[in-house]
């Protein structure tokens, strides 16, 4: 059916406008979707393409997976699992394998990913390139800490093995490196052992920010997973009122009799999908305030509830295309982390700013982070992190976001590159002190700038193109 069979085994391409998951940014890209390793190599080496970037399942909020007027390689079909060692729990798989697939295959055998973000629709390659963290960061660190080694297809066409002991500088430039060092063709990750597919969850309400922070510092060590939903519209004495949701993997004896017979068999729910965009006014200050109020009221303190893993880790995955809640113009997400000494002050200022702006944010999350990993561009560091959603209202939102970024910078905080759309090169360099080291390694491994993305040009990780 296709007439376009090009030489040197380049797979077919498509010129397409790709969007970020939140429907905020878009770029016209030359898109490839290789199904064989040789095709991937041909694309990376193709001289007609000025630069390329890999894209997993496109769940990032930032333009790190867009490449305006350049190549984008969809890695989703290079998704083969290569080996698994039952005794150690070490899985070797290609970069395009989805986290959800890993859960579906290995939870029934008693294994779970060591770290998971808030969605199961991410690839391992994308998760490493953004060094994602989960609700267990305070205890287990980010994903990079659980990657034993990876294979990196570099700009020169060579595949290098990298690990914390072999090519360590390249390894830590690749973990959190936004795909700019090469293509993560495969990785070895250590899965954690679990006895059930259920979580044992405690819910505690905190009437304001101080109460929430106090509960975190007093009792967080009891929980492997911990986060708080925070009401970003509450002001005054209720500023930062929260619902703390914390838990551990349930043991078999925690389960009710009905689930004990098949503790690892969790039925996946059918996902309803939002078939169209809601009008952009649907989520406004009033409706979100009502939602937040009812969420807070409907979550009284509870201890030891047993819930399936997916409703604990992936509540939003339960609704397909949930980004359409915000209407056609989409939304943006702001996530910053602050060092512990200043985090209380910074969070108060930030929440006051958001509360005053009346910008709706019904998905606001507060969490304690443990010590930073070694990834040169990794986001997590010890302290508190706050994530907020805001509907895209155009120009005035950009102004507001820049103010939040300045505020983060002023407090010694840093903004998550996987979610950012507004950072400047100067701000990025101050927030990420190891950025210069990253650039040096990038220059060494990819002197021609073969791997580049819209974001990399925006925040100065690569040179901008000559006209």
């Amino acid at each position: 059916m296709t007439g376009d069979r090009r030489e040197n085994s380049l797979p077919p391409r498509r010129i397409q406008s790709l969007r970020t998951w939140n429907n905020h940014l878009s770029a016209r890209c030359e898109v490839y979707r290789p199904e064989r390793l040789r095709e991937l190599e041909a694309i990376v080496g193709c001289p007609q393409l000025r630069d390329v970037i890999c894209r997993g399942l496109g769940r990032s909020y930032s333009d790190c997976h867009l490449n305006e007027a350049g190549g984008v390689i969809l890695q989703e079909r290079l998704d083969r699992m290569l080996s698994f060692d039952f005794s150690s729990g070490i899985l070797e798989c290609e970069g395009g394998v989805a986290l959800g697939d890993i859960i579906d295959c290995f939870l029934p055998r008693g294994f779970f990913p060591p770290v998971t973000p808030g969605t199961r629709f991410v690839t391992i390659g994308g998760a490493i390139a953004n060094d994602v963290h989960g609700k267990n960061h305070h205890r287990d660190g980010s994903l990079g800490a659980h990657i034993l080694s990876l294979s990196l297809l570099t700009a020169g066409g060579e595949t290098l093995q990298c690990s914390p002991t072999k090519n360590p500088d390249l390894f830590w430039a690749t973990v959190g490196g936004l795909g700019l060092t090469g293509v993560i063709t495969s990785a070895r990750v250590r899965l954690q052992h679990v006895s059930t597919g259920y979580m044992k969850v405690d819910i505690d309400r905190a009437p304001n920010l101080d109460a929430a922070l106090e509960q975190f510092s007093e009792t967080d060590e009891r929980y492997q997973y911990s986060m708080a939903w925070i009401d970003a519209l509450a002001g005054g004495g209720s500023l930062g009122r929260s619902v703390l949701i914390r838990g551990n993997h349930a043991e078999i004896e925690d389960l009710p009799a009905a689930q004990r017979r098949a503790p690892l068999a969790v039925r996946r729910r059918r996902r309803p999908s939002l078939p169209f965009y809601l009008p952009s006014f649907a989520l406004n200050a009033a409706s979100v305030r009502a939602f937040n109020q009812s969420y807070y009221v409907s979550h009284p303190d509870r201890t030891g509830s047993i819930v399936p893993y997916d409703s604990f880790f992936y509540p939003l995955d339960a609704i397909g295309n949930w980004y359409r809640l915000y209407g056609r113009r989409g939304f943006v997400q702001f996530q910053a982390v602050f060092p512990p000494e200043v985090s209380r002050r910074a969070l108060i200022e930030l929440l006051q700013e958001v509360s005053r702006s009346r910008r709706a944010s019904f998905l606001a999350v507060l969490k304690v982070m443990g010590p930073a990993g070694k990834g040169l561009l990794s986001f997590p560091m010890a302290g508190h992190t706050l994530a907020l959603d805001m509907a895209n209202t155009g120009r005035d939102l950009a102004v507001f976001m820049c103010r939040l970024n300045e505020l983060a910078l002023a407090h010694g905080g840093r903004v998550y590159l996987a979610k950012d759309a507004f950072l400047t090169a100067e701000a990025a360099a101050s927030m990420y002190p190891r950025l210069q080291r990253f650039r040096k390694i990038k220059m060494r491994i990819d002197p021609q700038g073969r791997f580049a993305s819209s974001m990399a040009r925006r925040i100065g990780l690569v040179e901008s193109r000559e006209a």
Binding site: M1, T2, P12, E35, R38, M81, L82, F84, C105
Partner: protein, 247 residues
């Protein structure tokens, strides 16, 4: 490993999805195609994901020689007995090139028809001897109605369709079912980047339909299902009007 299913053309697209779907439902597999390295990766994937036996064998459907030896190799790899054979390989080629370039025409017919017939003859004998099993061949809706945009490919697939029909008839008393699958547009490398295609069926969805069709011993299955009615309509359009549609 006994009673494995042989997937011919398993490396990419529908073939890979069918391999995974059958492995998911606990069948051992022999995955075959041109690119042995890729097939070995796929075999590893099937073993790791689903804990079933899987081995890779190489053949080239563009060549007219060596298919007999290849088939024997597959049977041996399956432990002497195949449970079924799914034929997924195909070569769409270029209609435009085929019109002026005889070699392209030959490549299309050799791949989609002659090699398919050679392999399915062997499969039929093997399964008939055992008195049980299935054969499933993937043809195309392109074979339902000759159209100027792809009639070389379409006619090769139509020929394969008639062959499968005859084979079904021959094996009907022998305990071997023969299923013809007619996919519409599926989201594979064959369609990626073609303009004007929307709402493509995912290979996973197609593979699920194929597995069910095999298990139920269905004769002819369109996937997605609505293609049956689209093609029925296109077949009923009189020649005089069809010519003006320029499809």
């Amino acid at each position: 490993m006994s009673g494995a299913v042989l997937i011919l053309g398993a490396t990419t697209g529908i073939g890979r999805a069918v391999a995974r779907e059958l492995a998911r439902t606990r069948r051992s597999l022999v995955v075959a195609g041109r690119d042995l390295e890729e097939l070995q990766t796929l075999a590893a994937d099937l073993r790791v994901r689903y804990g079933v036996g899987a081995v890779a064998c190489r053949f080239d459907a563009r060549a007219s020689e060596g298919l007999g030896a290849f088939f024997r190799e597959c049977v041996e790899a399956a432990g002497g007995r195949l449970e079924g054979v799914v034929l997924c390989f195909g070569y769409a080629g270029s209609q435009q090139r085929a019109e002026s370039d005889w070699e392209e025409t030959v490549a299309i017919i050799q791949t989609n028809f002659l090699s398919a017939v050679r392999l399915l003859n062997l499969a039929a004998d093997h399964l008939k001897e055992a008195g049980a099993g299935f054969i499933c061949g993937i043809t195309s809706v392109a074979g339902d109605r000759g159209r100027q945009s792809n009639y070389i490919y379409g006619s090769a697939k139509a020929a394969l369709g008639v062959y499968l029909q005859g084979l079904r008839d021959r094996l009907s008393g022998a305990g071997v079912t023969v299923t013809t699958i007619k996919p519409g547009f599926v989201d594979t490398p064959m369609t990626f980047g073609r303009p004007g295609l929307r709402g493509l069926a995912s290979p996973q969805r197609v593979a699920r339909v194929i597995r069910r069709a095999i298990e139920r011993g269905r004769a002819v299955v369109y996937v997605p299902w609505f293609w049956r009615w689209i093609m029925l309509f296109l077949r009923l359009v009189p020649e005089r009007i069809f010519r003006r549609l320029r499809l």
